[in-house]
């Protein structure tokens, strides 16, 4: 195994995803296949080879630091799933069922 079910669970936590046990089994198997496939890169000698992170022509683009009018608040709030008096509404950050 290139990756275990426990490791998959850990990665899921980092990615803010959760899986049922059955899903975990399926994902662990598929992730294992995928990771084995990508591991063929270890055969390539990359000593001294620089990384490529972009193929764009421009590397740094500067612009004038000028204040411009932003988008109206009402427009920005258009797709917010739950709102209250002009604010985005979210549940409590601390779980209220876990007192003490």
């Amino acid at each position: 195994m290139a990756i275990t079910a426990d490791e998959v669970k850990h990665v899921a936590q980092l990615a803010k995803l959760e899986f049922t046990d059955a899903e975990l089994q399926m994902f662990a198997g598929q992730m294992d296949d995928i990771i084995k496939m990508v591991q063929q890169l270890s055969k390539v000698d990359t000593t001294g080879v620089p990384v490529t992170s972009t193929v764009a022509e421009a590397k740094n683009v500067m612009r004038e630091d000028k204040a411009i009018k932003g988008t109206e608040r009402e427009t920005l709030m258009h797709n917010v799933p739950q709102k209250d008096r002009g604010f985005v509404k979210v549940p409590a950050i601390i779980d209220e069922s876990e007192e003490g």
Partner: protein, 487 residues
């Protein structure tokens, strides 16, 4: 309006001569879509009212000869944001999302007075090669409805190939325009990275994504790219180079053009019928006066693993924004804020998107970064160098677009690695940021075969010129599918 017997230029001439109005053309296009799309299922959202209103405006203002695309219907892949018109990326997580702005490519199409008739299906967030990963519907291949249309731009490809539209916009991160174009027998172009703005294109792999046109002919494609290309202050990766008129040099003359065929792209991994069609294409190019020789891209065989690490890493970062807070789907019955994130994402994303987020998160995490992400970014450099070496001596690279013709619906969906290997011939082009085109090069068992032309960065003119010459010499593009006995 029979789209199989017209091109963008003949529609423009018809509108200019007042043989028909933009409103008539738009209304007829919707009738045709409603009849044909029952079988093909390429559209996710129709934009009928707004399209007819826009067509009315075009008619009122009148069309001049310079307005080459005015009043002509176009379809848009549903990962390109359209102001006020639902944009889902074929994901449940954006099921109710109505963008508050237009992508730059949409602004350009509006400026050209094209009529947006609706949003087209894709693999969720453009992740996949069959359009089976859509949360909403399974689009069918225009030539055989038991086959996939390819992906991720399966909706645009099938809509154009089935005569519902003459032009659509797709996006291509690892082959998502070229592969469905090949599977549906149309022309699809992924422009040079930086040629077209990505502003308002729902991000997947930001160092790889490009928008490009999907059409039935090379000239139509060139017309469309001329309309959408160019520098954009909203996308700092767009090039400041001037955009040529890509139709200007389509004269069929390619005498003396030097074409390289990578031996790695013609090996045993490619099906016999596809290899045979490409060999015939080579003969056609030789007859047209080009020199065709075998070349080598030795690192291209590592394209698939490099791509799946880099694209998935970029995706895992880009898709962090879907948290159920500011837009999109929010899960019900949650206890706390963490729950909103985890449950909204787990219920809102489909399996393939989750696999990519997981692979990307894994590749970027402490302890694996050097062995996976950094290694992939180094091998990407070697793949780029392969292409530079070939382009020192050649104007263009010719290869198959795909290793086979379209596969069956349901055939590969449960085997991610097999599905990923389908992109082996298109991925290296994205990694190196080059322009690539797929165009029809033959048929096998009633299914189209696609040929790929690859040019150096910003060499689209060479690519279009060579594509046009081939098209004029072969006429494969004139073949049309039979859609439900309509033709």
């Amino acid at each position: 309006m029979d789209y199989f017997k017209n091109d963008l230029s003949s529609l423009h001439a018809g509108l200019l001569n007042k043989d028909f109005s933009a409103q008539e053309l738009t209304a007829e296009t919707f009738e045709q879509i409603k009849a044909r799309d029952q079988k093909i299922e390429s559209f996710l959202t129709l934009n009928e009212q707004q399209a007819l209103a826009a067509a009315k405006k075009v008619d009122e203002k009148g069309i001049t000869d310079a307005d080459k695309l005015a009043g002509i219907p176009v379809g848009i892949k549903d990962n390109i944001v359209t102001k006020g018109l639902k944009t889902t990326a074929a994901s449940k997580i954006l099921g109710n999302f109505k963008p508050i702005y237009d992508a730059t490519v949409m602004e350009k199409l509006h400026a050209a007075k094209m009529i947006n008739v609706g949003k087209l299906n894709l693999d969720e967030f453009a992740m996949g090669g069959s359009t089976e990963n859509s949360a909403y519907k399974i689009t069918k291949n225009a030539w055989n409805q038991t086959k996939v249309p390819g992906g991720s731009s399966g909706g645009p490809a099938a809509a154009v190939a089935s005569g519902q539209l003459l032009a659509a916009l797709g996006t291509d991160t690892g082959g998502s325009i070229r592969q469905p174009a090949a599977f549906n027998g149309i022309v699809g172009v992924k422009p040079t990275y930086g040629r077209v703005s990505r502003y308002g294109v729902i991000a997947f792999g930001s160092s790889l994504d490009q928008v490009g046109p999907m059409t039935r002919s090379v000239k139509d494609n060139a017309l469309m790219l001329s309309a959408i290309a160019g520098h954009d202050k909203h996308d700092f990766t767009t090039s400041e180079r001037e955009v040529p008129d890509f139709t200007a040099k389509l004269d069929g003359d390619i005498k003396g053009m030097r074409i390289g065929v990578p031996k790695e792209f013609m090996d045993q991994g490619v099906a016999d019928d596809v290899r045979e069609a490409i060999k015939n294409a080579i003969k056609t190019y030789e007859k047209l006066g080009a020199t065709v020789e075998e070349v080598s891209l030795p690192y291209s065989k590592y394209g698939v693993p490099v791509y799946y690490i880099i694209a998935s890493s970029e995706a895992s970062s880009n898709l962090q924004r879907y948290d159920g807070i500011r837009y999109g789907f929010r899960a019900d019955d949650v206890k706390n804020l963490e729950d909103v994130y985890v449950r909204s994402r787990s219920e809102g994303f489909g399996d393939e998107v989750k696999r990519r987020i997981m692979l990307g998160t894994f590749s970027l995490s402490a302890g694996t970064y050097d062995a996976y992400f950094k290694k992939a970014a180094q091998v990407r450099t070697l793949i780029c160098q392969d292409f530079s070496n070939v382009f020192e001596n050649y104007d263009l690279i010719l290869a198959p677009t795909t290793t086979s013709t379209a596969f069956g619906i349901g055939e590969e969906i449960n085997d991610p690695v097999t599905m990923y290997m389908n992109d082996i011939l298109t991925i290296p082009v994205n990694l190196a940021g080059l322009p690539g085109m797929s165009l029809p090069a033959g048929f096998s068992n009633g299914l189209p075969i696609g040929m790929q032309l690859i040019a150096p960065q910003f060499g689209e003119e060479t690519m279009y010129r060579a594509g046009y010459a081939f098209e004029q010499a072969t006429d494969f593009y004139k073949e049309v599918p039979t859609i439900g006995g309509e033709n």
